[in-house]
Amino acid sequence: MKQKLGFFASRWGIVVVGALIGVIAVSLQKMGNPANMGICMACFLRDVAGALGLHRAAMVQYLRPEIPAFILGSFVAALSFGEFRFRTGSAPIIRFALGMFAMIGALIFLGCPWRALLRLAGGDWNAIVGIAGLIVGVSVGVLFLRKGYSLGRSQHENNRFAWLIPLAAAVLVILAVFYPSFGDKMALFRSIEGPGSKAAPILVSLGAGLIIGFVAQRTRFCTMGAIRDVVLMNDWHLASGVIALLAAAFGANLLFGQFHPGFTLGVDEAGKVISQPAAHTVWYLNFGGMALAGLSFSLAGGCPGRQIFLTGEGDGDAAVFVLGMLTGAAVSHNFNAVGSAPFAVWAMGIGLAVVLLIGFLSIEKGGNA
């Protein structure tokens, strides 16, 4: 007898949810979020880091309400389906490092995999280079997994401390809603120009975040897992959700007149190249940054979005990965390594070396394969 697992676990479930995320993301852009950045886990965490004062890049400081709403949406979904389980203890400091370097890589490309899809759906061809890098990074991760890579088991904790996760998310929501200032030149910071100044109305952002957090928890939507499952075992379940996201976002962009194809947007009257929104054209940084991110995601078992949703369902190790990403954002901006900035290539090289070393050192004898 075959047990039914429900709509969200089905092929239709993941396709509908992928398409829904695509439409919501593009609608958020229409309603004020930065161009081709309706949702970006890396950029939004970076903006949160800026709002809290962890970095001083004045253009990208905003406590994005979507981030804590993702966690709360996933929390509610996990709780209402009896899936909330507080667990931690699987190599937390390694996961912190993976989160940090994942963020550094993503910020060299200028976006997480979700934004890579949204950039592609908006006509930014640099995203193709980034996605190619992502696929290579994830594939290298698959090689490690086949060799027996493991960060070890998490421990099932008593739920005594489980309130920490929703509490942290709730505090961030309250801060985002009231946006208090703690004094002159003190947090919370908020950009008055640049991407950090562009935002959909707060209730829209919160609502979108809650809905996406809920459905993503139910379907286990994961962009890294999508690539990994195809490479590892020709399983297109998660990939069909990712393709649906891309297709829906592309359609919605056409509808809203937000599709502008090219590696750049041409030149202005003075002959200066107009770049795609929050993008650069240095191919080896787009490729290498995303390869670093993809490898880090696959070694940690999930893309940044998935790590955020896992946090909501009680995974303390995923929470540590997310904290690593926050730190990574601060490192990238404070050390001038974002996009095609002077130290990006250094950050990429160091990151690849460290993450590869983590991979080699975590291969267990006897292995998975």
Binding site: K2, L5, R85, N368
Partner: protein, 70 residues
């Protein structure tokens, strides 16, 4: 050959890899997999069903016991 796989506490996709390796080369039989999240129940069930096995699960003491049969 072991008939029980303990994949509790492992990150994606290790439980699936362990299960697939155990199913590989077996024509028929019965294998039990222990996991502690519904995500792994979904992943392992989907993966095993693709290989022609039937999957059933039950919750026991905050963990899940998946039974794969062919």
């Amino acid at each position: 050959m072991t008939n029980t796989i303990d994949a509790r506490g492992l990150s994606c996709p290790q439980p699936v890899i362990m299960t697939r390796d155990a199913l590989k080369g077996r024509k028929a039989g019965r294998i039990t997999v222990l996991v502690d999240t519904m995500t792994q129940v979904y992943n392992i069930s989907r993966s095993a069903e693709k290989l022609g096995w039937t999957a059933n699960h039950e919750e026991k003491d905050d963990q899940f016991v998946i039974t794969l049969e062919k």
